[in-house]
C-alpha cells in the first residue's frame, strides 16, 4: 500500500522534474530541476531495497555532478534564453518510432528473463551495503579497479583542460598589472 503510494508519488515527481529539465528555456531552472529529479530517483532505490545505490545516487549525482555543473555554468552565459532546434517531421517520426520500439522491448524484457538464473543471488540475512561490498570486491574486483583508474584519468583530464592559467592570481595584482595583462591578451 505505502509502497504503491510512494512509487506513484515519486514517479510523478521525477517525470515532472525531468520534463522541466528538457523543456525549460532557462539553464538554471534546468539545473535545479535535474538535481531535484536525481534526489527523487534515489527514493526508488530505497524502495527497492538497494540502500547503497540510493546513497551513492545522492552523493555522486546530487552532490558531485550537480556541483560540477553549477561550477561549469559560472563560465557560461546562463542568463541568456536558450534557442531550440526547429524540429522537422522526419525527426519526430524517427523519434516516435524509436520510442515505441523501446517500449515494446523494455516491457517484454521480463518475459524473456523468466528463465534466467541469478548469477549472484541476494542473501536476505546480510545487509545491502555489506552484500554490495562482498560482490564488488570478489566478482567485480577488476572492473572496480578499472573504474578507479578511469575516474583518476577523468580527474586529471578535467584539471588539464579547464585549469589553464590557474596559477595566475588576479586578486594579488594591482590595477596597472591587470590592465597590462589584459592588453597583452588582446594583442595576442
Amino acid at each position: 500500500m505505502f509502497e504503491a503510494i510512494a512509487f506513484y508519488m515519486f514517479s510523478f515527481l521525477t517525470i515532472a522534474m525531468f520534463y522541466i529539465t528538457v523543456t525549460t528555456k532557462h539553464s538554471l531552472y534546468a539545473l535545479s530541476a535535474l538535481a531535484a529529479g536525481m534526489i527523487f530517483i534515489s527514493a526508488f532505490f530505497f524502495i527497492l531495497g538497494a540502500d547503497f545505490m540510493g546513497v551513492v545516487q545522492i552523493i555522486v549525482y546530487s552532490g558531485a555532478v550537480m556541483a560540477l555543473y553549477a561550477f561549469g555554468m559560472m563560465f557560461f552565459d546562463t542568463t541568456r534564453e536558450l534557442h531550440e532546434k526547429r524540429v522537422n517531421s522526419n525527426l519526430v517520426f524517427g523519434l516516435s518510432g524509436a520510442i515505441a520500439l523501446l517500449v515494446v522491448i523494455m516491457v517484454s524484457a521480463p518475459i524473456v528473463g523468466d528463465n534466467l538464473v541469478a548469477q549472484s543471488p541476494i542473501d536476505p540475512s546480510i545487509g545491502n551495503s555489506q552484500a554490495v561490498g562482498i560482490v564488488l570486491f570478489t566478482k567485480y574486483l577488476v572492473p572496480f579497479e578499472v573504474a578507479a583508474v578511469m575516474l583518476l584519468v577523468a580527474m586529471i583530464a578535467g584539471i588539464v583542460l579547464a585549469g589553464k592559467d590557474m596559477d595566475y592570481s588576479f586578486s594579488d595584482k594591482s590595477e596597472e598589472e591587470l590592465d597590462a595583462k589584459l592588453e597583452t591578451e588582446v594583442v595576442s
Binding site: F18, G37, F44, A50, A64, V107, A109, P110, P143
Partner: protein, 102 residues
C-alpha cells in the same frame, strides 16, 4: 494497481528514457544536451536496480554502480572540454560547432 511489479518500474524507466531522448533531439545548447544524457543514464539505472530487486540478483546493482562511475567521469571530461570551447569561441551552441566539417 496497488502492488508494484517489475513492469511498473520498466514503464517508468521507459518514460524517463523517452524524455531524455526528446531532450537530446531538441536541445541546441551543449550543456542542456549533457543534462539530457544524465536523464538517459538515470532511467537505465532505475531499470537495472528494479530488475536486480525482482530477480534476486546483485548484478543489476553492480552495473548501475559502474554506470554512475562512468557518468561522473564523463561529466568531468565533458565539462572541461566545454569550458575550453567556450573560452575560445564564446558560444556552446551546437550549430556553431561546424569547425570539423570537411
Amino acid at each position: 494497481m496497488m502492488e508494484i511489479t517489475l513492469t511498473h518500474y520498466l514503464v517508468l524507466s521507459t518514460v524517463l528514457f523517452s524524455i531524455g531522448l526528446i531532450g537530446v533531439m531538441r536541445r541546441k545548447n551543449l550543456l542542456m544536451l549533457f543534462f539530457a544524457t544524465e536523464i538517459l543514464l538515470n532511467s537505465v539505472n532505475i531499470a537495472f536496480v528494479a530488475i536486480s530487486h525482482y530477480h534476486g540478483d546483485f548484478t543489476g546493482q553492480m552495473f548501475a554502480f559502474f554506470i554512475i562511475a562512468i557518468a561522473a567521469s564523463e561529466v568531468a571530461v565533458g565539462l572541461g572540454l566545454l569550458v575550453l570551447w567556450f573560452k575560445q569561441y564564446n558560444t556552446i551552441d551546437l550549430e556553431k560547432m561546424t569547425e570539423m566539417k570537411g
